[in-house]
């Protein structure tokens, strides 16, 4: 695979940036407050839209009277769903590979009926957000309230109203899996333990709310959408489709994005409405969700009740896993990725780290009159991990075995690859045991156990929680494409040497702060032999990048990075061809190091790249005859061999429970992650830390609390508790490296690993701390109330 005479691959060369903690190139402007987020943007004649939103979870819209609102100075238009339907068509959030998934058409603004508290019923466009809000207050809407479906446990009961009569019932999707001989395995087990795991619905809370500026230029017949989306080409495709345009008439530009984590990868009704309003009104329209709106309309996630069973023998062998998962989404499956993916992933992932061959699963996804729900960092992983690792700890407890020991006896051996899980997941190479060994060293497990025992004698209750996990990264078309979604699973990078020696990269992956620009520059710089200061990366603009999938499902490094590597290799080869012609040498005798062509054998500089570029661009008359220099190259990459690149990791949580107050203090957290080759260790570790803290938030704090009428009761930042600095621990991160051989880069994804296992580790730690009291809790968030109740103190 090496094209280099010294036998090293492009990535292991002396001046390689691969594996180095190089600072990201775009930080200065962000630190000076000189970034440009869509929420900062202003365009000439730009107007602001405020959505009037339903106060009811389920209601018929009887009448809308906007006459008084329209008369307020500064109000440009008040537009209802019916009026907007002339400009934008509805959509249905289904994919054909989710067999049986059904959903009803959803409009950009509700027509005739609202199905969740917060759904938009009208758009008010005005010269400022404040004026639009004033006008929204006096738009008079007459509703007739309908019975709301707000409890997933009864959503399928015959007495419960069916939200969409055309669908027949409230079941969006069901999947069943039965592998091996589960009943026999349970019957033969020494012990069977079961529990119901309950997960509080929560949401992403990106600090920059969702923001869109849609600019329809009627003269050019072109729509420019400024939006912090993770998948700009997907937005281009869908906006064109539903607005009756060609893809080429739509340009999507991302700008700086103030956090996404999956929240901004979906298609939102109010954003589609914003595009449509621009087309209708023929001027730029800006929509920035305020914080209350964000809570009510950003996708929620992980609202699940999962019954789990595990069979275990006295020698620690886990004999079978079984789950029955129920999730309550909103009234529509989200578009275009569907709200069945989370449940589907749970079925796929439970038990996946273990050798246990007997596995049965059922997952049902039901509609509710609550906010829509869809993929948020980690998607189904946190639930699959919490259920699996919670069951494994219960099994360990049942037979009196140490939780690390039971895992050592059941995790897939490190030399057991390639292999497949009972759910059919194909693993190339994982490292569960090496990761566990590393974790034990990092945390000094035995010392912590001793400390725990000593402190228990003083009535101080600390707990250790362990969570092993597998993670899906680098997805192929198997994720969405096979189901008919126009979501690309390939990515491309175009790289060129410019006239004064700069290297310009255009990549189809996108940046929300994880370091997409940096990883691209590091790879290109390393492969080409140029200093990273000379490399400029352009992304987040469908007019100026290759076509691609974007950044989601932890695919940016593995897929986009491979495309960057391959494109840079081609450019390097092209440069050496020209250099050889200029220097009357051969490409094999030359190399590029530190921005210059050098002799491959002794490293002596021959000609600087910028001089070569000058000749190519301005003095091609001086080149030997017949040469057509090509200083630009594009390569795309798509995973073909493995539908996903699996990674693995293990996390540990060390915490203290005040059994008098129920309060939990997080003392420390550890992660050992195997994500294959690491391009920038600092960026990877920081992604892991950020992901962990989101999982800690879910474990202890975050919960979208609905009442029985379907009202979200805590839609503000004082009542919805996000993790803040005062309560979070320091997190130690270590790595094992099992590269993927599907790519030359060998990188797998890492963006979601922290979130995948953190809540599981916390829950296991709390239960570990409470062992002397015989309390077992299988719900999150683990609030002081929940803990005190489990202890029987209240």
């Amino acid at each position: 695979m090496s094209a280099f005479s010294d036998g090293l691959s492009a990535l292991d060369r002396p001046n390689s940036y691969i594996g180095k903690a190089v600072p990201r190139p775009n930080l200065e402007r962000l630190m000076q407050g000189r970034g440009l987020y869509v929420s900062d943007m202003e365009l000439p004649r730009m107007a602001h839209v405020v959505f009037l939103r339903s106060p009811h979870a389920h209601a018929s819209i009887v009448a809308i009277d906007a006459a008084a609102a329209k008369r307020i100075p500064g109000v440009i238009a008040v537009v209802t769903g019916r009026e907007l339907a002339a400009v934008v068509t509805p959509w249905v959030g289904v994919l054909s590979h989710m067999k049986g998934l059904k959903s009803a058409p959803q409009h950009a603004i509700a027509i005739g009926r609202v199905c969740w508290q917060g759904e938009a019923v009208a758009a008010i466009v005005a010269t400022s957000r404040a004026v639009a809000e004033d006008a929204a207050e006096i738009v008079s809407v007459e509703y007739r309230e309908l019975a709301a479906v707000t409890d997933m446990r009864t959503a399928l009961d015959p007495e419960t109203p069916v939200i969409h009569s055309s669908l027949g019932d409230n079941l969006a999707f069901e999947r069943q899996l039965d592998v091996g001989a589960v009943d026999r395995a349970f019957a033969d087990s020494d012990a069977v333990v079961e529990a119901e795991f309950v997960f509080g619905r929560h949401t992403g809370v990106t600090l920059e709310p969702r923001a869109v500026v849609a600019d329809w230029n009627v003269a050019e017949a072109r729509l420019t959408i400024y939006q912090g989306t993770q998948a700009p080409h997907m937005v281009q495709n869908i906006a064109a489709l539903h607005l009756g345009l060609e893809d080429a008439q739509v340009r999507v530009i991302c700008k700086d994005v103030g956090g996404s984590f999956g929240i901004k990868v979906h298609i939102y009704a109010d954003e589609m409405a914003t595009y449509a309003l621009s087309k209708l009104l023929r001027r730029p329209i800006k929509f920035v969700a305020d914080r209350v709106e964000s809570f009510n309309t950003d996708i929620h996630a992980r609202d699940h009740r999962c019954k789990g069973r595990i069979g275990v023998n006295q020698d620690g062998t886990i004999t079978a896993f079984e789950i029955d998962d129920l999730t309550g989404i909103g009234p529509y499956s989200m578009y275009p990725r569907t709200s069945a993916i989370e449940a589907n992933q749970i079925v796929n992932l439970v038990g996946g780290a273990y050798v246990t061959k007997n596995y049965r699963a059922r997952a049902r996804v039901v509609f509710q009159n609550k906010n829509v729900m869809c993929q948020y960092r980690g998607v189904g992983h946190p639930i699959a991990c919490s259920v699996t690792e919670g069951l494994v700890d219960l099994a360990a407890s049942k037979i009196g075995m140490d939780p690390v020991e039971i895992r050592r006896r059941n995790l897939v051996p490190d030399d057991g690859y390639p292999c497949a899980s009972p759910a059919g997941l194909k693993f190339e190479l994982l490292s569960h045991h090496a990761a566990m060994n590393k974790l034990m060293g990092m945390m000094d497990y035995d010392a912590l156990r001793a400390e725990q025992a000593a402190l228990r004698r003083s009535n101080i209750h600390r707990g250790i929680g362990i969570a092993s996990f597998i993670e899906i990264t680098n997805p192929s078309a198997a994720f969405y494409g096979v189901g008919g979604a126009r979501i690309s699973s390939q990515d491309g990078v175009a790289v060129r040497l410019d006239a004064t020696g700069s290297v310009i990269c255009q990549t189809s992956i996108s940046e929300q702060g994880q370091g997409s620009e940096s990883l691209t520059a590091q790879i290109v710089g390393s492969v080409l032999g140029v200093s990273i200061q000379r490399v400029r990366v352009i992304l987040g603009d469908t007019d100026n990048t290759p076509y691609g999938g974007g950044t989601w499902a932890s695919r940016g490094a593995g897929i986009g990075g491979e495309a960057a590597l391959q494109a840079a290799k081609v450019l390097r080869s092209n440069i050496l061809d020209v250099a050889a012609a200029i220097l009357q040498s051969s490409p094999a005798e030359l190399d590029i190091v530190n921005d210059a062509i050098v002799n491959a054998d002794d490293g002596a500089p021959r000609i600087e790249l910028k001089e070569l570029a000058r000749i190519v661009y301005f003095r091609p008359d001086t080149l030997p005859p017949g040469i057509q220099p090509e200083l630009m190259a594009t390569r795309h990459f798509v995973p073909r061999q493995y539908p996903f690149a699996f990674t693995n990791g293990v996390q540990a949580c060390w915490l203290e429970v005040d059994t008098d107050s129920g309060f939990v203090k997080l003392l420390r957290h550890w992660v050992v992650e195997d994500c294959g080759r690491i391009i920038n260790p600092q960026l990877v570790d920081e992604q892991i830390r950020g992901g962990v803290v989101q999982g800690l938030g879910a474990a202890l704090f975050e919960h979208c609390i609905y009442d029985e009428r379907g009202q979200l009761t805590n839609a503000n930042m004082a009542d919805y508790l996000v993790p803040m600095s005062g309560e979070m621990p320091d997190i130690d991160v270590g790595h094992v490296v099992s590269p993927t051989f599907e790519t030359e880069l060998g990188a797998k994804g890492a963006g979601e690993a922290g979130t995948a296992g953190a809540a599981a580790a916390v829950a296991n730690a709390v239960n570990d701390a409470l062992k002397p009291f015989g309390a077992v809790i299988t719900e999150i968030p683990l609030t002081p109330q929940v803990i005190l109740a489990a202890l029987g103190r209240i």
Binding site: R129, A130, D290, V292, D660, G726, E727, Q785
Partner: protein, 293 residues
């Protein structure tokens, strides 16, 4: 969310502020630090027609000790209280409590007058005022009134202040030399409103509490000076006695249940705080060892 439109006037004197309040009645709100008023306005929970900004009234600033009384101007910011040597000397309970109030940026603007007039039952300062035996000084068109803190807080966001009065100062009696204090609250995150809190002043003589004023907050519609405290004064405190007092406290309180805590959880946490408070004041960790029982 953007606030509704309103008129704005910057008061040039206390008298001028009162004139404006009288002229606009229920349609006017006083703007002091704005840290409680502005969120409510931005969320459009309230839409006053007139905002009377008293921020320029220098006469309402300052902390001074005169004749055994600590005078605190209503516009004294939380950060000023936190940094004040006079407060550290004469009301260390306040110095400690202020650290629990929100966050630095909020404390740089929020004022004691604003906090007390707002009377959020879950906030720290009203309870401290009751524990310290403070006097709230208000001025109206007919002159000044002095209201004991224990009488000032009358309900959720309700005080003895009328709409035509301005809270202008707080007076704290200089405490005796053997005073001790205790402050703690249960909050999910640093700076959050308390789930249950306790601000206590006491006089400790040897192994006995000679005076004990434990004031609980976030346990009802106003700060509650626990009557159960009287069981612990002037007698040796045993675990059994403390347990009785805690039980009496639980019976005395009528907390609300909400998303943060149920009624029984608030009672439980209040008992726990009482036990920890007494154990700390008396230097008796053994009293806290068993929890509230």
């Amino acid at each position: 969310m953007k606030a509704s439109a309103f008129s704005y006037a910057r008061a040039t004197s206390v008298g001028n502020a009162l004139e404006l309040l009288i002229a606009h009645g229920e349609n006017a709100k006083v703007l002091s630090g704005g840290q409680s008023l502005m969120p409510a306005m931005n969320l459009r929970l309230i839409s006053p027609e007139m905002i009377v900004d008293i921020g320029a009234l220098a006469e309402l600033r300052g902390i001074a000790v005169r004749e055994k009384v600590v005078h605190i101007g209503a516009l004294t910011r939380h950060v000023d209280l936190a940094r004040s040597p006079e407060i550290a000397t004469h009301a260390p309970l306040l110095t400690q409590a202020i650290g629990h109030v929100a966050h630095p940026a909020i404390r740089n603007k929020g004022t004691i007058g604003g906090s007390l007039a707002h009377a959020d039952p879950a906030s720290e300062l009203p309870a401290c005022m009751v524990a310290l035996g403070a006097t709230i000084v208000v001025r109206g068109q007919h002159g000044e009134r002095r209201i004991a803190a224990a009488d000032f807080f009358t309900g959720i966001y309700q005080t003895a202040l009328t709409a035509q009065e301005l809270l202008i100062a707080v007076e704290l009696p200089v405490l005796p030399g053997d005073s001790a204090h205790f402050f703690d609250e249960f909050a999910r995150r640093h700076g959050d409103y308390a789930i249950v809190g306790l601000a206590a002043q006491a006089i400790v003589r040897g192994e006995v509490l000679a005076d004990f004023r434990p004031v609980f907050f976030a346990v009802g519609d106003r700060p509650v000076l626990a009557k159960a405290a009287s069981r612990l004064v002037y007698r040796p405190v045993t675990p059994a006695l403390l347990s009785d007092a805690a039980a009496a406290l639980a019976a005395e309180l009528e907390p609300e249940g909400d998303q943060q805590a149920s009624v029984s959880m608030r009672r439980h946490l209040a008992k726990l705080l009482l036990v920890r408070c007494v154990a700390t004041l008396l230097g008796r960790p053994d009293l806290a060892a068993g929890g509230p029982g």
